[in-house]
Each structure stands twice: as structure tokens, then as C-alpha cells.
Amino acid sequence: MSRTSSSALWRSIAFSALASTLLLAGGFGYAVKDMLYPSAEAYTGAPVKSVLPEHKELSRAKEINVTAIGDSLTKGTGDATGDGYVKQLVSLLKEKYPAIPVKLNNNLAVNGIRADQLAQRLSTDKGYRYALRQSNLIVFTIGGNDLFQIANGRAAGEATGDISLETVKKGLNQGIDRLDNVFRLLYEINPNAHIVYTGLYNPFYNITDLRDGSLQVQKWNEEAYSLLHQYPNMMMVPSFDLFERSIGSYLSNDHFHPNHEGYAQIAERIAQSLD
């Protein structure tokens, strides 16, 4: 390489490298300044305007957007395939309304959540509200953790020993008040969607000492029905009967959550009840 071309190369490397170094040093200086002496100015983004879906029968809707919220039953805990009733419901709806696109927007169920925690989220969590406002079919389960008062964070099946009829009775009244809140908030967020609540069942039906828990479960379901009955867009699907005689074939190994078959029955019922 000749001398001139070599010094031209040097000059272009040196120039671009020096410019890079200065740029990066500037970036570093700004980063240190920004992190050690942060200037906190509140940022307000452009808020979203979400349009509620039209209120009409699902069979006449342009598309069906499903959002699921609630506890482990909606999450699908206990189903080895991971489908739960929500995914099975979506495929059933696809069969039922072949002309309408059916889509699961979000399944926001959280394991172990209680009705008061769900109400808390519904009233404060922007993401929940956004997801719910988009959909015209909302399915949810809640209350199992309130009624059976399982220590927070414990897997339900492991806590069987803690449960007595006394605690179940205590959980009932408190739980119903919380449930009322959930219904009210849901209606407030999306009065146009079809909202389906799946009632509770007694997972301990086959344990002699806890069989009477079914009476509390029935009371819960009755109270729940009378609460949601006042909202024209809500309905309730029962599940208690599935888990009495055939508890062995529908309950999963944790003796609390349904298995794939059990969820399939729940999904079937919801699909049947929709117009």
C-alpha cells in the first residue's frame, strides 16, 4: 500500500473513531448524570380510547373475543394438557358458530386468587380493564379460595387437612360480599359483554367429614345467583353436580381441581348456555 493511501486510511479511521469516542463518552456522561441525579418528571402517555363491543347475541356478533379472569379453575390447574375449560370453550364456540371468528384475547386467571383480590385488580389495574372492555364474552370463576379459605400461596390440594366445616361457614358470608363487589365492577367495566360465572362445587364430597360442605357450596351458589341475576348480561353455569357421583373421573390428582375431562364438561355447559 502506498504512503498516501495509507495515510488517508489512517485519517478516516482516526476521524471516525475519535467521533465515536466523543459520542460514546457523551452518552456515558449523560447516563451517569441521569442516573445519579435523576430529574423526575411525570410522563403521561396518550391514553387509549377503547370502544365497548356492541351488545347483541353472540350468534349475530362480527367476532367473538373471549377474556377469562378468576382463579385456578379458569387458569386450568389440574388439566394435564393445559387447556382448562377456557381453551376447550373456545374450540366449542368455533364449532357452534362456524361463520364467526372466535378468539381468546387473554386468560388473566391467577392461581389462588380470592374475590377481594380480584375486585382490587378490577378497580385499579388498567390492563385488566382494558382487556375486559375489548371482549364480548367474559368467563370467570371465583370464590373457591374464599370459601375454603386456603392459606394464601398454598397449593389447594395440599391444604386439605386444614379445612373444616367451621372455616367453610365463616368463609361464606365474607366471600359473598366480595363476590358482590366483583359482579358490580365487572358490570361497570363492560355492561355490553356476555358474562358467564361458573358456580362452585364441593371437591371434598367423597370425604365423609366434609360432605356437608356441599350445603355451604349450595348456599354460595344460591347467593351468587341472586346477586348476578340483577345484571341483565350475566348468567351462571352450575358445576356442583358434576363432582358428586362422578368425582373420581372428573377430579385431578390434587383432589381439588378438575382434570381435562372435568374441564371439558364445564366448557360444554358454558357453550350450551350461550345464544
Binding site: A14, L24, D34, Y43, G112, G127, A131, G153
Partner: protein, 328 residues
């Protein structure tokens, strides 16, 4: 200044002619499309499964929360998840998409992910044989018999190395933007990115959170990456002075950098690991507000540790290089 500039010129051109920088660019040109493709696949799946980014973010938060309720997950993990949930929630609450698919966002996340392993690797490609290479080629005798003081020779090598480190960082960002932009579009410069999350245990304080435009964020990232890469470069220079063969020099430095990466993922219980330089390379994490590898580490702490290591590296390199006998 006499004689220094020609020396720097000489060293810079030597590195250029050894085609070390070509290797760096080539690696980038091969790897960036691979990551772009992977990112494209993810974006396609998300588009198929989610109506928009809000749904996606809500679902992601929900999944993290479900992980938190599991008993089988170690506490350290849960802490990171809790922090991530709060940050994602902050983005959601302020109507900002943290992962909008565009060229600048891709560049930002590529650089943040590359800081602890990939950039050191690229730097080593240039730095590792600066001195040991001369030794194995035998040219060091010619270099040292010239009437120039030895510290000037090493100093000119250091400056040349600095120039290439700067070029590496800037060129990688530019290539990243150009290549990924072809797929995701060249926008995203002004998109707000949140920084200033203060982490206390497992809660995130948002008092100091503020939005910076993404171009400024990438620039800040670049600056931080440059500092951590320079530390690696200086230490590589030192190793290259100390070790006779280039292969040994590369292996030593690579081992140190990889050890640091492993340490920072598993050493939460071994606190003194935070004094290892390689654990402190992830400076961009402080910017993003991700929890540091070991509790209690801060930006100032990491910068001081890196500065100390660099100072030691320089002292050892110059001390040894000016004194050592050259025999082979």
C-alpha cells in the same frame, strides 16, 4: 507529543491490516440477521396470539404473577419477577409499549443483551494479540530496538485499542439498526423509554422514573457499554503483555468473562463475587432498572470496581512492559 502520533498511526494501521476489525464486522453481519429473524418469529407469534401489545403485556404480567404464586420457584427468581411485574405495569399504566417492533428498539435490546458477553468477545478479537502477537511473530524485537521509549509503544497500542473499541460499539449499533430496520422499519427514535427505577428489595420505587426518548437511551447504553468494554480491553492488554502466546491470552480473558457471566447468574449468596470485574460489566442493567446480579450493587459501585480493575491493569501492563526482558 513528538513521535507519539506516528506511533499511534502505526499501531492503528497494523490492527487494520491484520484484519481484526473485519472479523468483528463480519461476526456482526452474520449474527445480527440471525437475531433479527428470531425476533421476527416472536413478533409474528405475538401478532397471531394477541390483538395488540396491551393484551400481550397484560398476559405477560399475569404469567409472571402465576409464577410468583408457585412454591417451587427459588426466592431470588421471585424477586426478579416481582420487579419485572412492577416495571411492566408501569409501562402499561403509562400507555407505552416496552417492546414495540422497530429498528431502534431492536438495537436497544440487542445492545443490552450483548453487554456482558458479546461485546467483550468482540473486544478480545482486537485486543488479545496486541503484544503477545508481536512476540509470537518476533516483530517485538524490531519494535523495541527503535529509539522510542517503551511506555510510548504500549501507550500508542492502548490508544489504538481505544479507537477500535469505540468503533466496535458504534458500528455494531449502526449495523444493528440498518439490518433490523430493513425488517421492522426504521422508526422508533422518539419513543419514550422509562429509566430511573429504584429497586428496594423486591419493590420498585417509581419516584425518579422518567421517560427519555429512545435515541438518547441508546446513546446512554452505548456510553455504558463503551466503559465496560474498555475495562475488558485494558485487562486483555495486560494479559497480552503477561502471556507469551495469543491463544493463551484469548483463553484467559474469555474464561474470566464467561466466569463472570456464570457468577452473576448464580452467585447471589456469595456476596464478595461482586468485586470481580466480570460481574460488573452489565452497566446497562442499571439504566433499564433490572435487578443487579448481587443485591446492593449500584452504578457507582460498579463503576468504581471497573475503574480499580482498569487501573491495576494499566499499572501492571506498563510496569511489566517497560521492565521485562525480551528473549526468544
Amino acid at each position: 507529543m513528538d513521535r507519539l502520533l506516528p506511533l499511534i498511526q502505526n499501531e492503528t494501521l497494523k490492527i487494520w491490516k491484520k484484519k481484526r476489525f473485519y472479523v468483528v464486522v463480519l461476526v456482526l453481519i452474520v449474527l445480527i440477521p440471525v437475531f433479527t429473524y428470531a425476533q421476527l418469529k416472536i413478533a409474528e407469534t405475538n401478532r397471531k396470539n394477541f390483538k395488540d401489545w396491551r393484551n400481550q403485556l397484560v398476559q405477560q404480567i399475569n404469567e409472571y404473577q402465576n409464577m410468583l404464586s408457585s412454591e417451587r420457584i427459588p426466592e431470588e427468581w421471585k424477586r426478579n419477577r416481582r420487579i419485572a411485574v412492577q416495571q411492566l405495569q408501569y409501562y402499561l399504566d403509562h400507555d407505552v409499549n416496552p417492546n414495540s417492533p422497530d429498528g431502534v428498539t431492536f438495537t436497544r435490546s440487542f445492545m443490552a443483551n450483548a453487554v456482558n458477553l458479546f461485546y467483550p468477545l468482540l473486544v478480545l478479537a482486537v485486543a488479545s494479540d496486541l503484544v503477545s502477537g508481536e512476540r509470537s511473530a518476533g516483530t517485538i524485537k524490531m519494535l523495541l530496538t527503535r529509539p522510542v521509549r517503551r511506555w510510548k509503544i504500549l501507550f500508542s497500542k492502548l490508544i489504538a485499542l481505544t479507537l477500535y473499541v469505540s468503533l466496535t460499539v458504534v458500528v455494531s449499533a449502526i449495523l444493528c439498526y440498518l439490518i433490523s430496520g430493513a425488517v421492522f422499519g426504521y422508526g422508533g427514535w422518539g419513543m419514550p423509554v422509562f429509566t430511573g427505577f429504584v429497586i428496594n428489595g423486591s419493590t420498585v420505587e417509581s419516584t425518579y422514573v422518567h421517560a427519555v426518548p429512545q435515541w438518547l437511551y441508546v446513546l446512554m447504553e452505548g456510553g455504558l457499554i463503551w466503559v465496560s468494554s474498555m475495562t475488558v480491553a485494558i485487562l486483555a492488554l495486560m494479559v497480552s503483555v503477561l502471556v507469551r502466546s495469543t491463544a493463551a491470552s484469548i483463553v484467559t480473558m474469555m474464561a474470566a468473562v464467561i466466569a463472570g457471566t456464570i457468577l452473576s447468574t448464580m452467585s447471589s449468596s456469595w456476596e464478595s463475587a461482586k468485586y470481580v470485574f466480570a460481574v460488573n460489566l452489565q452497566l446497562t442493567d442499571y439504566l433499564a432498572g433490572s435487578p443487579p446480579p448481587i443485591q446492593g450493587m449500584t452504578l457507582s459501585f460498579s463503576l468504581i470496581i471497573l475503574a480499580i480493575w482498569s487501573a491495576i491493569g494499566l499499572i501492571v501492563s506498563f510496569g511489566v512492559f517497560t521492565k521485562q526482558d525480551i528473549m526468544n
